[in-house]
Amino acid sequence: MKPAPFDYYAPASVEEACQLLADAGGGATVLAGGQTLMPLLALRMSQPFVLVDITRIRALRGVSRSGATTRIGPVTRQNEALADATLQQHQPLLVTALRHVGHHQTRNRGTVGGSIALGEPAAELPATAVALGASVEVRSVRGTRTIPAQELYFGPYATALEPDELLTAVDVPEWPAGTVSLFREIAMRPGDFALVGLTGALTVADGVVTRAGVAWFGMGPTPIKARQLEAALVGQRVDALDAGALTELAIADTAPFDDLHATAEYRRTVGRRVFAAALGEALNLRKAA
């Protein structure tokens, strides 16, 4: 289990990184924290000609705010993000999700942007980005573009990123006061990818749901945005919600599968329960607050 040969570059700037990606003509892979990529290299499931290590690019690290948006540098380590005061204050769902990413040791290396750019369908951060309506800034020698997280994922590890493109920022909208988090993860062991994962936020004002963002992980080939649920929630009075109907809508967009560890039916069944419990808890918290 040794990686196949590759050339390694550690550019100091985004421009340099983009040039390297462009020059490689599709044969390059971006290395951030490496906690998912390195196993793929060791197993020779990934055999790039060029590895572009972006962790030396200082501009890509750290958390900042602009207006009602939190910007996270993609090479911000997951544990750094977890301890970041700005994220704790303005992105509580993201912090909760980060707590479930891998293990302490992998979070010391793993990055926020790496997880979001890879698109593992059972991972916490891509789904959370989708749920919160985040977007990613992507740069290449051809220019800069912004991709909404919900348009980023095509399938397992398949994203809208072109081979020459570099994810340079994760922009997460800050949800208003009165927002509650929904987060549940069912995994075989701590740190494993989810069998069933739910992540989302609800904003309630004057007893009415004004904004809803909910996504699933481990429930399909990509993070799954619960569109039908979101549509049904917004505008509803909290005390008039039909939990049963919402639960069915919550899983309506999922496309779970059988794998070694659980059946699709298991995922649907537990998904329903997880959603119902999370919704109930969130609204109770809301009432208590």
Partner: protein, 921 residues
């Protein structure tokens, strides 16, 4: 509790929680595992392995790999053809089918090594392995036990896929009648998933040729002495030329009991290329190409009378041997111990091991453990259906100390088992009534608690029937510096035998523990022993250390008495100092005595120099360990997740050398038990491709999956072995699974009787809770199913048979008896009997007198005489043996020309194939 129970004894070191000698080096990163060994000129090995489970190799193109800079050699089966290799079993028996070192013409499982790449480093070796192109004619593989029964032959030169068989092919009519007539018949059928032993250190070897034909092999193994012997015998090299060194080993659990294909390829490669070679198995290889264990099916039927007393039982058992098992196996120990602790009047079984196109079978901690799982789960079910408390049902059937001696239907002679007494202790620690109240209250809240119990007995430190397991040795000396050095045939892969053996020696001699150093890592030092196998080291190694220490102490005291002119009885060695009592009290340090012993031997008794002693100890034939466990779980009915809330153990492990190490063995076994019940599974797709090839998918328990264990040793009684020790290496892994399964089943009884499909993943448990049928449940063969025509059935491990005048074992006749007139019977014969340990060859003579037959088997300087009858060319004779148990072996054979073909019926153990060839001239 038994009145006559002697108290377990402790000493200054024996019985104490002494800090481990191994830990300082291991905690500071100074251990020496095989990958830490480097020698000048060493090259690195990777294997190109088969990507298909079954097929013929059409061509191998090495050109691209050969052209890669840094590649030193590419070795195929053709290159190794010059070596004669017999891939022996652990018992050093010939394999049932020839096992190629590298794939030779055919591939038989995904991962089958085809080409050995030798390169400057492992990275380059893997690069080259990826450039090798092999073309195959792929064939449909035989993957599952069901496939094996109906599919093509795994090995085309055999006549069936039965690798090994024991027990009766036909159902016993009397037994069937007893089962049918009983008040209650319980049937349990299930399949056990395949398990990867998964030591944290994978397999590995460094082979260094040097001198003229000498070879040093650094090996991750379970015992350097046995492995050196294995190499010497398998490669037909003089043992003196092979030195196996195995310092620190990162776990084994049965996997590394003997060298296997890759290790042998590396050793041969080093000899071929005259360069030191290193191969360190990577985890992908370990999870796909290292031998595995446990894939089994069993249908157990047990009948009870109206009071819940066992009347009769029958077991039908199948075991996936893979393509090349490390000893073809139908695992007779399963049958020996299934009801080994129970008052069962009648028992019969059929057990078969099957070849498949999967990686081969190796040992795993408690290889026969399914017997406890099947029995204990069946007992709980029967108890529920009969309306008897499951603890009460066990008590009615367990053999208590006061019932012994007791001989089981399988011939097991019990003298000091105590599972019932362990259960008594357990019930003092677990308030079942209080739990039932809590369980009832919880159920009303929709929470599902369950309690599970299991008892078991475990044969440890066996020294009967298996030639490689008879004894262990200890060589002790007081060094000229006054410290004590011990070379013992034990070996640690985590067992801490450097600690426990030093405790025993220090305690027995009367020297400080810190003054005793134990060496067990080098086949060139000390004497033969099997190392860690069959939970034997405390008993067999500890006994050797005690006896050797006693001899050494006698030598020390006699020497001191002689030098000082006092009586030997007046000398006591305490804490490394000789205390002289009597008229002239004084003290002498061991160092001072050693100075004289080595530097001034004229002052020693008879002028002999040195202070040394050695002893080879053979423990009693079997030392039994017993236990009862209980665990309490909560199953989340919303998600199917199991939370283990409490686990209580109670065992009779005899005198303990170090309770912390005893508890460590129990805990480690229990963690593996939890893994096998809840999450571990080696799985294959229909084409035989392994599907859990990383630790993301092959799930091992984490710290959050294993609860704190409570230990109670109150029932412990010294064994008959020297020191009163009993083995504890495998028990947790045997009794753990039924304890946990029973607790889960108890928790989920409101949803009906839990069908046992391992592992009990959340998805499977939730399917049970929800009564959803969509999860496929394999249906193991019913006992009444017509037996597959198993024309050929070679070996399998029956301690019985092997010991039977070093002979027999099971299998059916290959051809029907065909009378032919005028066959010559009289004269010398060379026989081969397919014993459980593999084929055994021996000489014999037959003589006829009219219709009377007389004969003798000659083996290992022993003769077994018999008489029988002759009808035409058909012979019949009986041979009574007493070891390891009394049994009459019934032989039938037919002579045609210069060959003799027949079988040996071995009572409940079924029959073994006998072949004879006339000695010419």
């Amino acid at each position: 509790m038994d009145d006559a129970r002697p108290a377990a004894t402790t000493g200054r070191y024996i019985g104490q929680r002494v800090a481990r000698k191994e830990d300082t080096r291991l905690l500071t990163g100074r251990g020496v595992y095989v990958d830490d060994v480097g020698v000048p000129g060493m090259l690195h090995v990777a294997f190109h392995r088969s990507p298909i489970a079954r097929g013929r190799i059409r061509s191998i193109d090495l050109s691209a790999a050969r052209a890669l800079p840094g590649v030193f050699a590419l070795v195929t089966a053709d290159d190794l053809a010059r070596f004669k290799v017999d891939m022996l079993s652990f018992f050093l028996a010939q394999p049932v089918v020839p096992v190629p070192v590298l794939a030779n013409g055919r591939v038989t499982y995904v991962g089958d090594p085809v080409v050995m790449v030798v390169a400057q480093d492992r990275y380059l070796a893997e690069d080259a392995a990826g450039l090798i192109v092999v073309e195959y004619d792929e064939e449909d593989p035989v993957v599952t036990l069901d496939d094996a029964k109906t599919g093509a032959l795994v090995h085309p030169d055999t006549d069936s896929n039965v690798a090994a068989a024991t027990g009766a092919e036909e159902l016993d009519e009397d037994l069937e009648a007893a089962l049918a007539a009983a008040a209650h018949l319980e049937t349990l059928a299930f399949r056990h998933q395949r398990i990867s032993q998964s030591p944290m250190e994978t397999r590995g070897v460094v082979a260094q040729p040097h001198g003229s034909g000498e070879l040093t092999v650094y090996l991750s193994c379970q015992g350097p002495q046995l492995c050196a012997r294995w190499f010497a015998q398998a490669l037909e090299l003089p043992q003196t030329s092979i030195r196996v060194i195995s310092k620190d080993v990162g776990g084994s659990f049965g996997l590394k009991g003997q060298p296997w294909r890759e290790e042998v390829a590396v050793v041969l490669g080093a000899m071929l290329l005259r360069r030191p070679l290193k191969w360190i198995e990577d985890r992908l290889e370990n999870l796909t190409a290292a031998n595995q264990a446990r894939e089994q099916e069993i249908t157990l039927r047990a009948a009870f009378d109206a009071e819940g007393r066992l009347v009769a039982s029958h077991a039908d058992y199948g075991l996936n041997n893979g393509a090349y098992p490390q000893g073809a196996d139908s695992n007779i120990a399963v049958m020996m111990f299934l009801w080994g602790a129970h008052k069962l009047p009648a028992f019969s079984f059929r057990a078969r091991g099957w070849f498949t196109n999967t990686v081969g079978l190796a040992a795993y901690r408690g290889p026969w453990a399914i017997e406890s799982l099947a029995r204990e789960v069946l007992l709980d079910r029967a108890a529920r259906r009969m309306g008897i408390d499951p603890i009460e049902l066990r008590r009615r059937n367990l053999i208590r100390r006061s019932d012994q001696p007791w001989t089981t239907p399988m011939g097991l002679e019990l003298t000091d088992i105590s599972p019932a007494e362990c259960l008594d202790v357990l019930l003092q620690k677990v308030d079942v009534a209080a739990f039932r109240a809590e369980q009832a209250a919880a159920r009303r809240e929709g929470r599902y608690l369950g309690i599970g119990f299991a008892t078991y007995i475990e044969p440890t430190a066996g020294s009967t029937g298996v030639a490689v397991l008879m004894s262990e040795s200890a060589h002790l000396r007081v060094e000229p510096t006054g410290t004590v050095t011990a070379v013992v045939s034990t070996h640690s892969q985590g067992h801490g035998t450097q600690t426990t053996m030093a405790q025993v020696i220090a305690d027995r001699l009367g020297v400080p523990y810190e003054h005793v150093e134990v060496y067990e890592d080098d086949s060139s030092r000390g004497g033969y022993g099997s190392g860690a196998y069959g939970s034997r080291q405390a008993v067999a190694g500890g006994g050797a250390c005690i006896r050797a220490a006693d001899l050494l102490l006698a030598r020390i005291r006699e020497s001191a008495a002689h030098i000082l002119g006092v009586r030997t009885d007046d000398i006591v060695l305490r804490n490394g100092v000789l205390h002289v009592t009597g008229d002239k009290p004084q003290t002498v340090s061991l160092r001072d005595l050693a100075d004289i012993a080595y530097g001034d031997p004229d002052r020693m008794p008879d002028g002999h120099a040195g202070l040394e002693a050695q002893y080879r100890y053979r423990p009693p034939p079997i030392t039994m360990t017993s236990a009862a466990h209980a665990c309490i779980v909560e199953v989340d009915a919303q998600t199917g997740f199991v939370k283990i809330r409490r686990w209580v153990t109670s065992e009779d492990c005899g005198n303990m050398i170090n309770p912390a190490i005893v508890e460590g063995q129990i805990a480690g076994g229990l963690a593996q038990a939890i893994g096998s019940v809840l999450m571990e599974e080696v799985s294959f797709d229909a084409r035989g491709n392994p599907t859990a090839v990383t630790y993301k998918d092959y799930m091992l328990p984490t710290i959050f999956d294993v609860p704190e264990f409570e230990y109670h040793h109150d029932a412990s009684m010294p064994s008959q072995a020297e020191g009163g020790f009993r083995g504890v290496g495998e028990g947790g892994c045997i009794v753990g699974p039924p304890t946990l399964v029973n607790a889960i089943a108890d928790a989920l009884i409101p949803f009906g009787e839990l069908e046992l499909e391992l592992p009990l993943t959340p998805a499977r448990l939730l399917a049970h809770i929800e009564q959803r049928p969509e999860i496929a449940r394999p249906k193991p063969a019913e006992a009444s199913e017509a037996p597959a025509p198993a024309a050929d059935a070679p070996a399998d491990p029956v301690p019985v048979a092997a010991a039977a005048h070093n002979v027999p074992a099971p299998s059916a006749p290959q051809e029907p008896f065909a009378p032919a007139s005028g066959a010559r019977i009289d004269g010398g014969w060379k026989f081969v009997l397919s014993t459980p340990m593999g084929p055994q060859a021996f000489d014999g003579r037959l003589a006829t007198d009219g219709d009377q037959l007389s004969g003798v088997f000659i083996m290992n300087m022993d003769e077994a005489h018999f008489t029988g009858t002759v009808t035409g060319n058909q012979l019949k004779w009986d041979l009574k043996v007493t070891k390891p148990m009394k049994i009459t072996l019934k032989y039938e054979a037919v002579v045609e020309g210069d060959t003799l073909t027949g079988k040996c019926k071995m009572g409940v153990f079924g029959s073994a194939k006998l072949k004879g060839e006339r000695v010419k001239g």
